[in-house]
Symmetry: C2
Subunit: 361 residues, 2 copies
């Protein structure tokens, strides 16, 4: 399969990635970091991955207006027309509505891949094959396609998609239900059942299909962004979007459309996906030394086991006597936390804000 | 007692304070740091303490030539004549010999207080009284006086001085023996005996008395620096000292003279002294929170006990699940170490050098 000029992509890059504090901060969130030390930020990895599927000029990014400079620095090939700036956080439905109506004006026959900026996909070639196939399917049928990750463990940190084993064609399955993050016994049940996959947050649909869904399930939001049809790609776009975002509701595309629509399908995939949502998930991508440590940067470790230590270039860490700890230093903030207490990062951040140390958030 | 124009002081500020890594580094050693966060560096505290005992122009400092700029910044009142620069580390005997011969040229009747730059004395007024008394005694008698700290615990990190309980006058005791750092049972024996004090490294003597001792115990070194008598305070001094240091042996004043001389006396004192030689000794100067932590800088601690956490201004540390740890961050190096493994700092530094990370030493 070849890339098709009707294939478009929307990279969603508006999040803050709070669980990766202190590396991910409001002024420099996760997706702009080279989290894995591979030489490219997660955003750059996402962009380069999509170049295999879409022409360069068909890749759009949507993010908070505060990150405009970061985006220009990291993706200098992108024109301002391709960079959609949100004046405020309004969850994923407005974000998709904005992009869909803007792209519709450029190409009403577009097939659109929607992808978060801050996930990792290791097997790029497999991603390419699946994405091209999904675009083909989306072009042919009035369907909303999701990518579901074949689960390798009963993870309680992801949402699941249940599909109908008997209703499929060409590896594309009809979705039976979306499931919120489960508890462990439920997740174990999902794994055993075999027809549950992780919701990757990657979607593929034709402009026509998703517009129809907006009309049906979020008609006010659809009307709001449809009004801009003659305004997109003009000087007026920024002011129009400011007003639209002032008015529109805060809702996710999952909750607003996918969980309600009848024409939702899933392609179970296995392309080495992780959302890199927590330090533990990042740690799992690293090779370990013989004591089970992953040491990122210049780190000397003594009597230390099963720990994840990360310091930036130009710095050194010397640690002694740690077992099962996460130690992250990033320029101006240091976090030391037991691995099994990693969920406390949210509390740390809350407390930092409450104490007024906003420069560290 | 009043300060006397014959009173001189020599501040020895050439050390690197390796046990306080990473705060103390070769390019910015301990004595130049405001280690306790009181607003003055240890060097500035030492200088200001001696201003009570000597006229300003009689205070000399000796240090490595690399630290000239730091000294000028921290003690702008000092003239270049008062700043003695060593071209290389040669231990304390050459350092005293240089200063003694230089000061002798200015004032052959001088009484000289020799003091390390990097110790802490909490009770400044008591220091003043003892120092003035010692200068008086030194002026009257051909004696070498040391200050011995009345021990409060069987510390194995200090050298001890044994004095002759029966041989004293005016609170000045004849020294019986110098004792190397003891093991714990020996230190406990010293405390029980009652006539053992910690060697503070602070000495008082007349120029005449110490010159006589150099003549007797280190005659070659004495001759070497005596040759400079017409050169000190001239343009030639630097070149002369360069040559003298190339030749002279590396030996401490304790080993070279004090342990051999017959006229060594000690004044047992109790002026709140600590050498601040280790993180533990610095920690002991801090107030603790109700969990026994001392948190220096902006630190949020969770499930953390008996720990010492220190970060510089403009940084934050969030720590969770530490008990009995030392965590020190200083600009470019982070150290995490169990309190009872603090002696490993020397090993850390050795390993850092061996791996060629010299910028962190």
């Amino acid at each position: 399969m070849q890339k098709n000029n009707n294939n478009f992509a929307l990279i969603m890059a508006g999040g803050v990635g709070t669980r990766l504090w202190p590396v991910s901060r409001k002024d420099f969130p996760k997706q702009f970091h080279d989290v894995l030390g591979v030489g490219e930020s997660l955003l750059q990895l996402s962009y380069n991955r999509l170049l295999d599927v879409c022409p360069e000029e068909n890749i759009y990014i949507i993010s908070n207006q505060d990150y405009y400079q970061l985006i220009k620095e990291q993706l200098p090939a992108m024109t301002d027309d391709q960079i959609l700036l949100e004046p405020q956080l309004r969850n994923t439905a407005p974000c998709v509505a904005y992009a869909v109506h803007k792209i519709a004006q450029k190409n009403p026959d577009a097939n659109l891949i929607v992808s978060p900026a801050d996930h990792l996909i290791l097997k790029q070639d497999q991603f390419k094959q699946v994405a091209l196939k999904a675009c083909e399917e989306a072009a042919k049928h009035n369907v909303l396609i999701t990518f579901g990750i074949t689960p390798t463990r009963p993870d309680t940190g992801y949402g699941y998609i249940e599909y109908d084993r008997s209703n499929h064609e060409n590896g594309v399955y009809k979705v039976a239900a979306f499931k919120e993050k489960p508890d462990l016994p439920t997740a174990e049940g999902f794994l055993k059942a075999g027809n549950f996959v992780w919701n990757s947050g990657i979607f593929v649909w034709s402009i026509d299909a998703i517009k129809k869904s907006f009309e049906k399930y979020l008609p006010e939001m659809n009307a709001l962004f449809d009004k801009g049809s003659k305004i997109y790609y003009s000087q007026e776009e920024e002011r129009f979007i400011q007003q639209a975002y002032d008015t529109c509701i805060n809702i996710s595309i999952d909750y607003g459309i996918l969980e309600k629509a009848e024409n939702v399908y899933v392609i179970p995939v296995d392309f080495g996906w992780t959302d890199l949502g927590t330090w533990k998930s990042i740690d799992s991508q690293h090779e370990k030394d013989k004591y089970g440590n992953s040491l990122q940067g210049t780190v000397l470790a003594y009597d230390t086991k099963e720990s994840f230590i990360k310091v930036p270039k130009g710095e050194i860490a010397v640690v002694q006597g740690l077992e099962n700890y996460i130690v992250i230093y990033d320029g101006k903030a240091l976090m030391i936390c037991q691995k099994d207490q990693e969920q406390m990062v949210k509390k740390f951040l809350g407390d930092i804000k409450e104490k007024g140390y906003n420069e560290f958030v």
